[in-house]
């Protein structure tokens, strides 16, 4: 490999850009098939109710209605919409507790029936004609209440509504001894925010059976092969009889890793014999798709006067909502984040996952680590204040280094946290700003920071494997066939850059086929920033194999050994005599149409299964201004110093970070998923009441890409997007703490809460 890279590290235009700026890109909501019906779902208005009787006769008689289905019409199989039970090394921590349509309503929004009709208006009318007789049961909307004896039981198998108790397997040392050695022990209980994903494309699915009995599903699924297996098992079909197409995806942030309306859509298609599409309204999306867990997190930290952390302990009560879904893995990640960021000999954590009669939670960008790290990083700042130490100095005292175990216990190839802190502190002017006079009339200024360590995939928890193949066209361009879902993070583009670099052709010479289970090889699903690190390796291997064949073929033409040749910018040349060479296109064309001898299609396949999950790192600085008269917080600036290894495309990496910052600002300050505590009804079910940041709400943002290539990554790259919502929240909370001394334990930090906290002092 030559030293200078020609495609890697360049700001090439993202994959699919032309389709997306011209309106040509087709998303699931855009799928339109002949004779296609509209599917709609009837949901429970009660948080907890037994379904006594459903009379669907009136709905069925409405002209234009082709099917009405209830619990009676679906496979009687309990399942989990989450994919992890299929790939976890310890699947015993998963729970199959859900039917495609519920036999009992467990939250407002639980699915109790569905219809398929010729158009949306008829389907809507049909929903209104379905008569459901409920026996309303006492509901429990709070996890602490749910655990008490005598609380209403939501699932028969779970006494006290505890679905799972987890003792964190990474606990080590003796925390009691550690707290005994500390000069300062801080304990705080936090309630984390039930942030909603709010991807812009509403939840949707289309499905259709072909005349041969094969089923095609269009869905934004980001783990289509595993989701396909789940559908296959539910409907007693072999996997090969299902073709799953993932069209363009209008945002995911974790949502599409689990099944959503797909099984209902399939049931309706099966019943009617016609294609069916379900597209949620925004209100339905808010009421029926995933949110973060609410953790009632009690965190405890012990530090010595010199800043050494002696013990860390976390106890979680996890409000998972009405069904289990991804409770175990998010809780594990949360405890991993809390216990794994710093060197500390004594750590312990445990979690109780609890059912409540509210919307099921899922796995959102940051996946538990956002919450675990936020609790830890706020405690660190409080401890620093108690012992009178600069929070940066306290962090540097306990920082991990290369070779130390990461947050999953695997030894780290690189660790740049110390460098990132120093680069960021210098850039923002930490020492000067931290010492600055805080008051400006009624406005108080504050600055805070936080660090984070994330993952590049789910190793070693899950089986992960990736596959790709590359075939050269006659003209010297190449097709890359790979499962590289693009939920906005431009994984296909990064894969194309890797392939082009290895093959010695241009970025625009790579044509990608993606998101079609009939054509792409098996894949365990994208998530946890696995894409670039893992799929990128499979692409690299496929490209290396294709390159080997290309050079071998060229060598025969030039009567030289392949090792004597190099390929770059569409041209193969002799290393010792660069003027002598042949174009890639000439070799590929001759390989295909060789009238004199061997003809072949130059083709490379690559597979990859990780043995590591190198953590991306970040240090984030936040500057805020708090209005002491109104409690309003304005984030003035976020500085994000990032190490995700080698940067394949700086524009993509910056974009991931800038988006993560905006989501975090929403999480911290405005995104409030309000459930009425009497009725269980969601009150923030639109973009007016659930406020995601607009262009006017995002702070000034500066991103520094600190690149330390990781030896095991493709060209040294690690994951990016997942971790971008981890360190911003605690940095903002710490800045508020610096500004007005209010310690945030309950996000979002709305003006009401800050004002109240200021008033009480």
């Amino acid at each position: 490999m030559i030293d200078e890279l020609s495609v890697i590290g360049k700001r090439v235009s993202r994959w699919g850009a032309y389709d997306r700026v011209t309106g040509a890109a087709k998303y699931t909501v855009d799928i339109k098939l002949p004779r296609m019906l509209v599917g709609k779902v009837l949901t429970s208005p009660y948080p907890h109710a037994r379904i006594i009787k459903i009379d669907k006769s009136k709905a069925e008689k409405l002209p234009g209605v082709e099917a009405v289905i209830t619990f009676e019409d679906i496979p009687k199989k309990l399942f989990t919409p989450n994919r992890h039970d299929l790939i976890l090394y310890h699947p015993e921590n998963e729970r199959k507790d859900m039917y495609v349509i519920s036999e009992k309503a467990r939250f407002v929004g639980d699915r109790v029936a569905a219809v398929a009709a010729v158009d949306a208006a008829t389907a809507q009318k049909a929903l209104e004609l379905i008569e459901v007789k409920y026996e309303v049961l006492p509901a429990v909307l709070d996890p602490i209440e749910a655990m008490k004896p005598g609380a209403p039981r939501i699932h028969d198998f779970a006494p006290n509504n505890i679905s799972l108790h987890l003792n964190f397997p990474g606990s080590r040392g003796d925390v009691e001894k550690g707290f005994g050695e500390a000069d300062c022990v801080i304990e705080e209980t936090f309630r984390t925010s039930k942030q909603h994903i709010s991807q812009l494309e509403p939840c949707a699915c289309a499905a259709s059976f072909g005349p041969d009995g094969r089923l095609t599903i269009w869905s934004p699924g980001q783990s289509a092969f595993l989701q396909r297996r789940k559908v296959a098992e539910l409907f007693d079909m072999p996997e090969g009889m299902i073709k799953w197409i993932t069209p363009h995806v209008g945002g995911s942030f974790g949502k599409s890793g689990a099944l959503s309306v797909e099984p209902i859509c399939v049931a309706l298609t099966k019943k009617t014999g016609k294609p069916v599409k379900i597209e949620y309204s925004r209100e339905e999306d808010f009421r029926g798709t995933e949110t973060r867990q609410t953790y009632v997190a009690t965190g405890k930290i012990g530090v010595k006067k010199d800043g050494t952390i002696t013990a860390l302990q976390e106890k979680l009560i996890v409000d998972g909502g009405a069904y289990f879904s991804r409770n175990s893995t998010t809780s594990m990640a949360s405890m991993g984040g809390f216990t794994g960021l710093y060197r500390c000999p004594n750590v312990a954590a445990e979690a109780d996952c609890v059912y409540t009669n509210i919307l099921t939670t899922g796995g959102i960008r940051g996946y538990g680590n956002s919450e675990g790290t936020c609790v830890l990083e706020q405690l660190v700042d409080k401890a620093a204040k108690e012992i009178g130490m600069d929070p940066i100095q306290l962090r540097l005292r306990n920082i991990k280094k290369a070779g130390d175990p990461d947050n999953k216990g695997l030894p780290m190839e690189t660790c740049t946290l110390e460098e990132l802190i120093k680069v960021g502190a210098e850039k923002i002017g930490w020492a000067e700003k931290r010492a600055r006079k805080k008051q400006n009339g009624t406005k108080k200024y504050g600055i805070g920071m936080a660090i984070m360590m994330d993952v590049s995939g789910a190793h070693p928890s899950c089986i992960q494997h990736r596959n790709a193949y590359i075939k050269f066209n006659e003209d010297g361009s190449a097709n890359l066939v790979v499962t590289a879902y693009d939920m906005g993070q431009n994984l296909p583009g990064a894969c194309a850059q890797i392939a082009a670099e290895v093959l010695g052709i241009r970025y625009e010479d790579i044509h990608i086929l993606n998101g079609d289970t009939d054509s792409t090889m098996f894949d365990t699903g994208i998530g946890a920033s696995a894409g670039l690190y893992q799929v990128g390796q499979a692409v690299m291997k496929a490209a290396q194999e294709a390159r080997r064949q290309l050079l071998e073929r060229a060598g025969k033409r030039l009567r030289l050994a392949p090792e004597e040749l190099e390929v770059r910018d569409r041209r193969i040349y002799v290393k010792s005599d660069p003027q002598r060479g042949i174009s890639v296109a000439e070799v590929t064309r001759q390989a295909t149409y060789n009238l004199e001898g061997e003809h072949l299609n130059i083709f490379g396949k690559g597979s990859f299964s990780p043995t590591q999950s190198p953590p991306p790192f970040a240090t984030v600085f936040a500057e805020v201004e708090v209005d002491t008269e109104t409690g309003e917080v304005r984030v003035q600036k976020i500085l994000y110093v990032n190490d995700s290894g080698r940067v394949i495309n700086p524009a993509t990496v910056e974009g991931q970070i800038e988006g993560g910052i905006a989501q975090s600002v929403g999480y911290c300050l405005t995104e409030d998923y309000v459930i009425n505590r009497e009725t269980g009804v969601l009150e923030s079910d639109n973009f007016t009441t659930y406020k995601i940041p607009s262009a006017l709400d995002v702070p000034e943002t500066e991103v520094i890409l600190y690149e330390e290539p990781v030896p095991s990554g493709p060209f040294g790259a690690k994951g990016v997007g997942h971790g971008t919502t981890i360190a911003v929240n605690p940095a903002i909370a710490n800045a508020i703490y610096d500004a007005v001394g209010v310690f945030i334990t309950d996000m979002p930090a709305t003006p009401e809460k800050i004002f109240e906290a200021l008033r009480r002092r």
């Binding site: 235009s13 993202r14 997306r20 040509a24 339109k32 709010s198 209008g250 974009g655 262009a695």
Partner: protein
């Protein structure tokens, strides 16, 4: 409700459509004319994804009745490029890395076009305010604002509008 025949002009082309009076402009575009580039993310006028231009005025297609735009010029994202020649805003969105999932992109670009048509040299703050009603969940808006500024500059230099 009774269906009727209505005539529309979209992207310079005339259409004759049979529809009910309560059909929205976004339904007309997406379901009747298969112009699915106009996206519907909220359906109630809160997110700007469905922004199109009606006689040059930015309009939320989800909250506008189709019959209200009869006889008017409707411009959607599909009508912005001239053949294969992208509009400077489209090119700038690509070059600035302003697109992630792309679901807000059509509405953003149409809104930005209306903004630049009115104010060819906006400040960053004016762009922020102009796009304040268009939500994006992916980008954090930084590169979208970069793109609009870049397009304004390109158009000032005589790039084809």
């Amino acid at each position: 409700m009774k269906k009727e025949v209505a005539y529309f002009k979209v992207n310079g082309r005339s259409y004759e459509v049979i529809l009910t009076p309560e059909t929205t402009l976004s339904e007309l575009l997406r379901e009747h004319l298969d112009l699915t580039g106009t996206k519907r993310a909220c359906g109630v006028g809160e997110c700007g994804s469905c922004t199109v231009l009606v006689d040059g005025i930015p309009t939320l297609a989800c909250s506008t009745l189709a019959i209200a735009v009869r006889g008017k010029e409707v411009l959607t994202i599909e009508g912005l490029a001239k053949g294969t020649q992208l509009h400077p805003l489209q090119q700038a969105f690509i070059d600035s890395g302003a697109i992630q999932c792309g679901f807000c992109t059509s509405g953003m670009i149409m809104m930005a076009k209306a903004l630049l048509d009115k104010n060819p040299n906006p400040s960053r703050q004016e762009v922020k305010e102009g796009l304040g009603g268009n939500l994006c969940r992916c980008t954090g808006y930084v590169k979208i604002i970069d793109a609009v500024m870049a397009a304004a500059e390109a158009m000032g230099k005589g790039a084809d509008r």
